[in-house]
């Protein structure tokens, strides 16, 4: 081998080595750069990881708080539900919820107490089962009307209605209704209150008032009678004393005719006065032509019967009203003729009071036009009737067949009817009942009188 060759070869070799070295260095530098970049990346990732862990922890905490809050609110809801439930079931008022079709969704225990049905017997059934037939057939229509028009007659107010008890009878109720929505679906809640007690109380009060009115009338008559007695007794007392004095004067030896005449004149005066008092009392009943009005007699009869309705019901009386239409109007003092009608109705009711319990009590009130075109009212009962002995006397004042009677009813009634140019008559057979007839001239006839 040639040295130069070797040298050059060495030099060549050296050069190559140097190149390789530089190349290696370059690669190293690049690798180092890469490494740094990777390290940076890792740091970044690590940082991100920390951040994410923190975030996760926070959201985990938040979640846990949420869960706790949910638990709490669930508990509160349950408590609230329990509370509402206890109120729902403890309420004295019945509470029923129905859906848009009228089907019962739920009902509280009071409904059971008031109407006899348990919640299980109601849920899923239509609310109509709790209504009397007349209302039940219309209920779907009520609901439909409300959906169509948005106008309700009942929401927001309290109504008096009747509920149908499981036992088949009616229960008077106060009803109020509210509506609410769940998920857009409408529901109605009805609250019902049993008003039987109140109704009973009202009925009692009314009866009491009627009795009071009756007693007051009797009292007034008594007062009037004793008033007459007191007033008439004054002139009578004077007459008794004057006549006694006159007799004494006549016995004296030296008679003074002038004195005697004076006393007799006074006696005369007092007797006249007694008569005047009686006349005044009769006029009081008779000549009251004031306060007369044009009246439809059928209406007045209905009103009078309303005042006796309780007694009619209580005594199980079958009551028939046969009122002729197209009757002429009458021109009367309503209070007085109502008084007459009440008196006749009460007499009829009392006449049937003592009949055996299996006797079918029957009261018929009829109006018709009589032969002379006057209005005739008849009140017919199938009670004890009037004995032959009593027939002639029952219209006379102070004659009575009743235990607590004043004996003024029929006599005053007759006076009142006669003051209207009418007549009061009766027809009776003992044991078969009695019919009283009141005849009143029509308004036209009255004008001709």
């Amino acid at each position: 081998m040639k040295p130069e060759n070797n040298l050059s070869k060495a030099a060549e070799l050296c050069g190559t080595v140097q190149e390789e070295e530089a190349e290696r260095l370059d690669r190293l530098a690049a690798l180092q750069g890469n490494l740094r970049a990777a390290e940076d990346k890792i740091r970044l990732l690590e940082q991100k990881l920390v951040e994410q862990t923190e975030e996760l922890t926070t959201s985990h905490l938040a979640l846990q708080q949420n869960i706790e809050a949910l638990k709490q609110s669930k508990k509160r809801l349950r408590e609230r539900e329990a509370r509402l439930n206890s109120i729902f079931n403890a309420a004295a008022e019945g509470i029923i919820t129905i859906d848009r079709k009228g089907n019962v969704v739920n009902a509280n225990t009071a409904v059971n107490a008031i109407l006899g049905f348990t919640e299980a017997e109601l849920v899923g059934h239509n609310i109509k089962m709790l209504m009397p037939a007349a209302h039940a057939v219309q209920h779907d229509q009520y609901l439909q009307n409300y959906f169509d028009t948005g106008i309700s007659k009942i929401i927001g107010s309290v109504r008096e209605v009747e509920g149908l008890h499981k036992g088949g009878w009616m229960v008077p109720l106060d009803l109020s209704v509210a509506e609410f929505f769940i998920d857009g679906e409408i529901f109605f809640t009805g609250i019902i209150r049993d008003t039987s007690q109140r109704k009973l109380q009202e009925q009692e009060n009314r009866k009491h008032l009627e009795e009071l009115a009756h007693v007051t009338r009797l009292g007034l008559m008594g007062e009037m009678a004793s008033g007459i007695a007191h007033e008439v007794n004054q002139p009578l007392t004077a007459i008794v004393a004057y006549t006694e004095v006159s007799v004494n004067l006549l016995k004296l030896p030296n008679l003074d005719p002038a004195k005697l005449a004076g006393i007799l004149a006074k006696t005369h005066q007092q007797a006249l006065r007694a008569g005047q008092i009686i006349h005044r009392m009769r006029d009081f009943v008779r000549s009251k032509t004031t306060n007369r009005a044009t009246v439809c007699i059928n209406q007045l009869i209905r009103d009078s019967i309303g005042l006796c309705a309780t007694e009619i019901k209580l005594q199980n009386i079958l009551f028939c009203l046969e009122l002729a239409e197209d009757l002429p109007l009458v021109y009367i003092n309503e209070v007085q003729i109502e008084q007459v009608l009440l008196n006749l109705l009460r007499n009829a009711i009392e006449a049937m009071q003592d009949m055996p319990s299996d006797h079918h009590r029957r009261l018929v009130v009829r109006t018709q036009l009589d032969r002379r075109q006057s209005v005739e009212i008849s009140v017919k009962d199938n009670g004890t009737g009037i004995s032959e002995a009593d027939r002639g006397k029952i219209m006379t004042p102070f004659y009575t067949t009743k235990k607590n009677g004043m004996g003024m009813g029929l006599s005053i009634s007759r006076s009142l009817v006669e003051a209207h140019h009418g007549a009061l008559r009766f027809n009776s057979q003992a044991g078969k009942g009695c019919t009283f007839y009141v005849t009143l001239p029509s308004k036209e006839q009255m004008h001709e009188l």
């Binding site: 008794v240 004393a241 004095v245 005066q269």
Partner: protein, 206 residues
């Protein structure tokens, strides 16, 4: 009988003229003095306590009723016999009147002789009451003459203590008691022990 009643008077209170007029004539013609009034107040204004009297009284009157007048007389300590006359007798009214000492409660119209009998009775009662009162006044006047010691002795005598017992109780001699007793009889103008007892009874000493 008119002499007997010379000083006695019948009062009549009734708001009704015819009653006053007729009863006045009747009662006058029967020999009584009578004075009539339209109202209770008029009567109260002219009532004379010195004269024996009785009162015919209507129950029902405006302003003051008969029963109210009876109350008023009671309050004023005037005890004259009352005969009520009423247009229509209420049991409650008559019961009240009788409880307050009325002689009768007559319902108008009444029998005149019954009225006159009651008037007679009323006046008789009043005269008797007045004589009793006069006697009481007289004895009271005499009693006032007694010394305290004599009064003491009188009380012992009327409670049936003998002279001896009285002497023992008062720790004095029998003779002293004898002397007191004589003076008491003298002052009270009593003739006997019986009379003394009667006087004591009259004045409610017994």
């Amino acid at each position: 009988m008119s002499f007997e009643h010379s000083d006695a008077i019948v009062y009549l209170v009734d708001d009704e003229f015819a009653i006053r007029d007729s009863l006045t004539l009747l009662i006058e013609s029967s020999g009584f003095n009578i004075q009539s009034f339209e109202s209770a107040q008029e009567f109260l204004d002219s009532y004379d306590p010195e004269r024996p009297s009785c009162l015919l009284l209507d129950v029902r009157m405006p302003t003051m009723s008969g029963l109210e007048l009876q109350d008023e007389l009671c309050k004023r300590d005037i005890s004259l016999p009352i005969i009520f006359i009423s247009g229509h007798a209420e049991v409650a009214d008559s019961a009240k009147a009788f409880r307050a000492g009325a002689i009768d409660f007559l319902e108008k119209p009444f029998e005149n002789n019954v009225l006159l009998e009651r008037i007679e009775e009323g006046l008789g009662k009043d005269r008797y009451a007045r004589s009793q009162q006069a006697l009481r006044d007289l004895i009271q006047h005499r009693l006032e003459q007694l010394t305290p010691r004599e009064m003491e002795v009188l009380r012992l005598i009327i409670s049936s203590h003998s002279n001896k017992e009285s002497a023992k109780i008062l720790k004095v001699s029998n003779r002293t008691i004898d002397a007191h007793r004589a003076r008491i009889m003298e002052k009270l103008q009593a003739e006997s022990l019986a009379e003394l007892m009667k006087m004591a009874m009259h004045c409610d000493l017994l």
